[in-house]
């Protein structure tokens, strides 16, 4: 799951790119217009790959972007979204499959599925049994991004590999001086918080949530802001020193800080108490009009070189085992992107919440954020 | 009412050198950008006068009123009230009230509140205001309408509320800006007399702006006829009418015939004149006329008699053809074309029924007037 709210400029730029892309490819496709309507996260693709797809197949890609799972889900549930391929996160995908939103994939049309990574497929089977409805696009983790120098200055022996950084009042109160941001996403912060408290993150009972609420309220005063994208810039500029966020976003902050040469080194860690792993899945809505084209697109992306270019562009791992040899070394060798066995042990996944649990989780989050 | 003209005859403070004027305009000039609304005006107005400013729109009469009310300040010169320079006193500090042409009644207030507005503003007690408002309502006979809002009143009633409101504060000077303009003719005439009675009864000084010469003639003690920011003539109504000092004034007040003449000779006050056609006229006038100069004879139509036979006796007479007859009930105006193409008018009372009238279209007739009927105008 990438981010719940995207930076406006980026959104605008992606929209612009998508539009110009659509315009430029419309010239290529001629007599028999084949089109494909894709709805993906913003800033989540290498545009050259899309261009190449159009050049090769003559299929014009209308590429739209969203920035929250909720937005995508509401469009899908309302029906007649008009999209042929969408990329929800796995836990959302799970309940969307149950609701009957998607159609089964015709795997005979996706020979490149042989390139996929079993380790990922197995984990996804928890949401999409038998991998019948979806193919992994990219995946990543939730963790702690921090500015090495600033943290050292505020708290020399800061436990950078632990949720203590944000969940322990003694530590958080110190780091609050240089600023803490937390993702504004209840379903991605509350489960790790439960793990931190030693609770079973799958048991989202009212009692357990109450405990999480109490814990979070204690550190609430030290959290400068709940936001799902601003931490990239804030971390890179040195406005804050700690951010709980998505792995790829933290790496973006890292490279921005390195480019700026402002004396800030951004690091990412997956807390040892355990954190969330998320998967963004390609799936075809039941009412899609260009089903064949959608399959062709998935097959195209599943070509190792194509998927590798996307991972290169956005610093996220993908579910394509065969692509790994084409991905830049600094990405595949980064344990925060491609985790080692040790790190993988600390990562867990969440199953979709039922609506009652969802409500409780969201309500807990509102209570933490607003104090109401 | 009957003795009112008698009273006004003796009321002429402007002739009394011991009288101090209530209001004095001293070389007042008012410009709006390039436009000169008032040009170096000097004028005195006396207490208890009913002073009328008369002239066409744009002549500066409204500017004078607004200068007095304080809505405008003079570009140069001074305005004095009771000897005190008020040129730069704001409107709310002046002992002057105004009745607006549009009445300017406050639409969100009742009649009672409107009338009491100025009193309340003065900080008078509720009882005092109440009493004065009652008095004012009685004065304008609007007692039953005290609780109405202006939009629930007729035009005449609104006019009276506006009057009551402007009188409530007992101003030293009441300014009336075309107060009767919005009323129909009958109501206007009735109100004219009401205003005159009121002014005499209250002993206040009124200054009225009007473009209606009849209204000015009826009500005013003196009239200032204005044109292009200048007072052309300042006199009593009868003097303005009988002895206009210029063609402009003569033409503005009532109907008039002009005949351009050259002075040939004179014998004392009797002058011998000649028009362009060579018609000779005689004139008895107190005005000194230079022999050889060009003047205009102004003759009021009602002083010109039309007849079929050549008139006998000591009169001026010309012959012409009846071109048109304008019938207006009590009188008829004959338009007679002279041989040179000019037209002279004669207004005759219809003493007989029209059908018995001896003169009709295309008749050759004589026009005549007495030696004292015409006024010689040099400009």
């Amino acid at each position: 799951m990438k981010k719940t709210f995207v930076h406006f400029k980026k959104l605008a730029v992606s929209a612009l790119v998508a539009t110009t892309l659509a315009l430029s490819v419309s010239g290529v496709s001629s007599a028999e217009e084949r089109t494909l309507n894709v709805y993906n996260w913003s800033d989540y693709v290498d545009n050259d790959v899309l261009k190449e797809f159009t050049e090769k197949t003559g299929i014009k890609v209308n590429y739209d972007v969203f920035d929250t799972n909720e937005l995508l889900e509401t469009k899908l549930l309302a029906g007649a979204s008009g999209y042929d391929l969408v990329v929800p996160s796995a836990n959302f995908l799970g309940r969307q499959i149950e609701a009957g939103v998607f159609q089964k994939l015709d795997k005979s049309k996706i020979p490149n599925l042989s390139n996929s990574w079993d380790m990922i497929n197995q984990r996804i089977a928890a949401y999409d049994p038998g991998n019948e409805y979806s193919v992994n696009y990219l995946w990543g983790t939730i963790g702690i991004g921090y500015s090495e120098e600033k943290v050292k200055k505020a708290l020399p022996d800061a436990p950078v590999d632990s949720w203590d950084m944000v969940f322990k009042p003694e530590v958080a109160s110190k780091l609050a001086e240089c600023g803490i941001y937390v993702l504004d996403s209840p379903s991605e912060i509350i489960p790790p918080a439960m793990k931190y408290l030693g609770l079973d993150p799958t048991d989202l009972s009212a009692d357990n949530l109450k405990k999480v609420e109490e814990m979070l309220l204690k550190v609430r005063p030290y959290i400068k802001k709940f936001h799902s994208s601003e931490y990239i810039t804030a971390l890179a500029n040195g406005d804050i020193c700690v951010a709980v966020g998505y792995s790829g976003d933290i790496f973006q902050a890292e490279s921005r800080a390195a480019e700026a040469k402002n004396g800030i080194t951004v690091k990412y860690s997956v807390p040892k108490e355990g954190s969330l792993m998320w998967f963004d899945q390609m799936a075809i809505p039941k009412d899609a009009k260009n089903v064949a084209e959608a399959h062709e697109f998935i097959n195209f992306l599943m070509e190792p070189k194509n998927m590798a270019r996307i991972s290169d562009a956005v610093s996220y791992a993908n579910g394509n085992k065969a692509s790994q040899e084409f991905i830049k070394k600094e990405i595949t060798s980064n344990p925060a992107i491609y985790p080692t066995e040790d790190v993988l042990k600390n990562l867990f996944t969440m199953l979709p919440f039922d609506s009652k649990t969802q409500r409780l989780v969201n309500r807990t989050w509102t209570a933490v954020k607003s104090g109401q | 009412m009957a003795d009112a003209p008698e009273q006004r005859k003796v009321f002429a403070p402007w002739l009394d050198t011991t009288q101090k004027p209530l209001i004095r305009f001293e070389n007042v000039t008012k410009r709006f950008g390039d436009y000169t609304a008032l040009d170096n005006l000097t004028l005195d107005i006396y207490e208890r006068e009913f002073f009328a400013l008369l002239g066409p729109s744009g002549c500066g009469k409204t500017t004078m009123l607004r200068l007095l009310a304080g809505f405008e300040t003079p570009t140069s010169g001074r305005i004095l009230i009771g000897g005190e320079d008020i040129s730069h006193v704001p409107p709310n500090k002046r002992p002057v009230n105004m009745m607006f042409q549009s009445y300017a009644l406050f639409p969100h207030m009742t009649v009672e509140k409107n009338i009491g507005f100025g009193l309340k503003q003065e900080g008078q007690s509720a009882e005092a205001i109440n009493e004065r408002v009652k008095e004012m309502l009685a004065l304008v006979q609007l007692e039953p309408f005290a609780q109405r809002k202006p939009h629930q009143l007729s035009g005449g009633q609104r006019q009276r509320v506006a009057l009551a409101r402007s009188l409530a504060k007992r101003p030293t000077l009441l300014l009336l800006d075309e107060p009767l303009g919005a009323l129909d003719k009958k109501l206007r005439e009735k109100t004219q007399f009401e205003l005159m009675t009121l002014q005499e009864k209250l002993g206040m000084t009124f200054m009225i702006v009007t473009h209606d010469q009849e209204e000015a003639m009826t009500m005013a003690s003196r009239i200032a006829v204005m044109d292009k920011g200048v007072v052309m003539q300042l006199d009593t109504p009868s003097d303005i009418y009988e002895a206009p000092n210029s063609r402009y004034v003569a033409d503005f007040i009532g109907n008039v015939n002009f005949i351009e003449c050259t002075v040939i000779s004179h014998n004392g006050q009797e002058y011998q004149l000649k028009d362009k056609q060579g018609n000779q006229f005689r004139l008895i006038s107190e005005v000194q006329l230079e022999t050889g100069s060009t003047i205009w004879l102004a003759v009021r139509p009602e002083k010109v008699i039309v007849s079929k036979e050549q008139p006998q006796g000591d009169v001026n007479a010309v012959q012409g053809i009846v071109w048109d007859i304008a019938y207006s009930g009590d009188t008829s105006t004959y338009h007679v074309r002279l041989p040179d193409g000019t037209t002279l008018k004669s207004e005759m009372a219809n003493l007989r029924r029209v059908r018995n009238r001896p003169i009709t279209w295309e008749d050759t007739v004589w026009l005549s007037w007495s030696l004292t009927a015409a006024v010689p105008l040099k400009r």
Binding site: E70, E73, A99, V101, Q372 | N92, P107, K169
Partner: protein, 302 residues
């Protein structure tokens, strides 16, 4: 003699009614229907749905499954009440602030020389030419710690620490006042511009200072414009979502945001619809009052 049916007249009345029926009543009925349904993991995400193929029994079973559960839920959790209350507070204060800023603006516009008015009016309307969303986003750029305002204030030495404005209620007020200012200024300007200038002169003539004349004449007579403008600010501010979401902090709870999270976050369309129905009903009351005032005004002017 039978009077012939007047089709023109009928259409003239029927068209606006049809418009209201199709674009207001029908959608509202749908929202009410959803609010009476129960949430489900389905497409659409609520039950029951009307199944006409089962005939009459389909219809009766559909109606028998509707209930007021969602409305009862609104009473269960104080968050809804607090959201309404907070929205009310924010809408009220914003309206007041808008009036305080908008009145002098409208007054200045109405008093400006004729040749300037078109230009000034244009300046009031001009922001409408840009997307509302972009204008609100622009405020982020102005108000954020490293934004224009803080940089400006710091560079002239007024402050040495950036002011925390963004993500606070202050930013929400700024956003609402900015966004809705024209809605207040324009009707108010229309009222003030029509105001007979001689009424002010009459007040001055009767002893008012210019300030007294304003309060005794100009202001009371501009009240219809004030009321119209205030409603045009208050009503949309009450349901505002975008501004608190972009400029407000996480502790700024407003009914629009709560509705959004019910709809998107909780996927609970019935409760979201119930929130919307209550919001609409709570706005209908001031709208009806407003209409009454307008009607009375029209009668008075007639």
């Amino acid at each position: 003699m039978q009077r012939q049916f007047d089709w023109g007249r009928f259409l003239l009345i029927a068209i606006p009614f049809l418009w209201l029926l199709i674009f207001f009543l029908l959608p509202f009925a749908i929202v009410v229907k959803i609010s009476l349904s129960d949430t489900a993991n389905a497409l659409p995400p609520y039950v029951p749905t009307l199944n006409l193929s089962e005939g009459w029994s389909g219809i009766t079973s559909f109606f028998s499954q509707l209930d007021l559960e969602s409305f009862a839920w609104l009473l269960d959790d104080k968050i809804y009440f607090l959201s309404y209350l907070n929205s009310l507070k924010i809408a009220f204060i914003s309206t007041l602030l808008t009036l305080l800023i908008g009145y002098p603006m409208a007054y200045g516009l109405a008093k400006a020389p004729q040749r300037w008015r078109t230009v000034l009016l244009m300046l009031v309307i001009l922001p409408f030419w840009t997307s509302f969303l972009i204008r609100v986003y622009a405020w982020i750029g102005i108000l954020k710690p490293e934004g224009l305002l803080n940089m400006g204030l710091m560079s002239i030495g007024l402050i040495d620490q950036p002011l925390a404005i963004i993500n606070t209620p202050t930013a929400v007020y700024i956003g609402i006042v900015y966004s809705y200012l024209p809605f207040l200024v324009l009707p108010l300007y229309a009222t003030l511009e029509k105001l007979d200038q001689t009424l002010i002169e009459a007040a001055l003539d009767l002893g008012c200072s210019p300030i007294q004349a304003f309060w005794k004449v100009t202001f009371p007579l501009s009240l219809p414009g004030v009321v119209a403008g205030c409603f045009l600010v208050f009503i949309p501010a009450m349901g505002e979502f975008v501004i608190p979401d972009l400029l407000g902090g996480s502790d700024t709870i407003m009914i629009g945001k709560t509705l959004w999270s019910e709809f998107f976050g909780n996927r609970d369309w019935p409760v979201a619809s119930a929130v919307a129905v209550v919001l609409l009903l709570s706005l209908v009351v001031p709208i009806v009052i407003f209409q009454r005032i307008q009607e009375r005004q029209r009668e008075a002017e007639a």
